[in-house]
C-alpha cells in the first residue's frame, strides 16, 4: 500500500507515542496532535483528529507490523555478523 509523506509522518508520530518511554508520552502526543491539526485545518474543521486516526487505523496496524518485522531482520542480521 503506497503512502504519502504526510501520512507517513503521522504514522511515525503515532508509533512513537505508543512506544516511547513514559516520560516522553506528553511530548510525543503533542507532536502527533500538531501533525493531525495540519490536516484538520486543511479540512476547514470538517473532520476531527479522531476521525483522521480512525481513517488511518488499518494503515497504522500495517505500519507497526512492518516496523517490527524490519527490526527482527536487523536483529537477525546483527546476530549473524557477530557469529
Amino acid at each position: 500500500m503506497s503512502r504519502n509523506r504526510e501520512i507517513e509522518a503521522i504514522l511515525e508520530a503515532w508509533w512513537r507515542l505508543d512506544y516511547c518511554a513514559p516520560s516522553e508520552s506528553a511530548d510525543s502526543k503533542r507532536a502527533l496532535d500538531q501533525l493531525l491539526d495540519i490536516s484538520v485545518a486543511k479540512s476547514q474543521g470538517q473532520c476531527t483528529r479522531e476521525q483522521i486516526l480512525t481513517y488511518l487505523w488499518p494503515r497504522y496496524r500495517e505500519y507497526r507490523l512492518e516496523k517490527r518485522k524490519k527490526e527482527q531482520v536487523e536483529i537477525a542480521q546483527a546476530a549473524l555478523k557477530k557469529s
Binding site: N4, P22, S25, S43, C47, T54, Y55, R68
Partner: protein
C-alpha cells in the same frame, strides 16, 4: 460494592488475551526496583510483570505509605502493563493470531483503560510523587489517550463514508 481505594490496589487478570507471562525490560523499572529494594547496582535481568505488580501492591497496601507515592507506584505498574499489552499485540500480529484474539483484545484493553482512568484520576486528585519515577500526570494522560485511540480504531464505530472520502482528499492518496 468495590470502592475507589479497593480498585486502586486490585489485581487484574486479562480475560484470555495472554500467551506467556510478559516481562518488563530492566531499563523500564530499574529506578523503581532500586528504590523499592533499597539497593543499587543489583543486576536483575528481567522480572515478570505479575511479580512487579505484586511487589507494588504489597507496598501500597502498607499503612503509612504517602498517597502520592502510592499513586506513583501504581502508575508505574499500570505503565508496565500497557507496555506488555503493546508487546503482546505485536506478538499476536506476527504470529497471525491477532484477528482471532480481537474479543479478548477488547476486554483486556477496556480493563487497561479503566485502570488508567483510575490512575490519572487519583494522581490529579491526590498527587503524584515524581521522586521515584520520571513521568508526569500529563504523560499518564497521554498514554491513556493512546489506549483510547487504539480502542476507537480497533473496536469503535467507523467514520461515515463521506468523512473518509474527505480525509482521503486531504492526503491526496494518489501521491506516492
Amino acid at each position: 460494592m468495590v470502592t475507589i481505594e479497593e480498585k486502586r490496589v486490585r489485581q487484574t487478570t486479562p480475560a484470555g488475551f495472554t500467551s506467556e507471562p510478559p516481562k518488563i525490560p530492566l531499563s523500564e523499572v530499574q529506578t523503581i526496583v532500586n528504590w523499592i529494594v533499597g539497593q543499587s547496582g543489583v543486576s536483575i535481568p528481567q522480572i515478570p510483570l505479575s511479580q512487579f505488580q505484586a511487589m507494588v501492591n504489597g507496598i501500597v497496601q502498607q499503612p503509612g505509605v504517602p498517597v502520592p507515592l502510592a499513586n506513583a507506584l501504581m502508575a508505574a505498574s499500570w505503565l508496565a502493563e500497557v507496555r506488555a499489552f503493546r508487546e503482546l499485540e505485536e506478538k499476536l500480529m506476527l504470529e497471525g493470531k491477532y484477528e482471532a484474539s480481537l474479543q479478548d483484545h477488547r476486554v483486556y484493553l477496556t480493563d487497561l483503560i479503566a485502570q488508567g482512568e483510575t490512575v490519572v484520576w487519583a494522581a490529579r486528585k491526590r498527587g503524584l510523587d515524581a521522586t521515584p519515577v520520571k513521568f508526569t500526570i500529563d504523560d499518564l494522560d497521554s498514554t491513556l489517550e493512546s489506549l483510547h485511540t487504539t480502542f476507537r480504531g480497533e473496536h469503535g464505530p467507523q467514520n461515515p463514508q463521506k468523512t473518509n472520502e474527505l480525509i482521503s482528499q486531504l492526503f491526496d492518496v494518489s501521491e506516492p
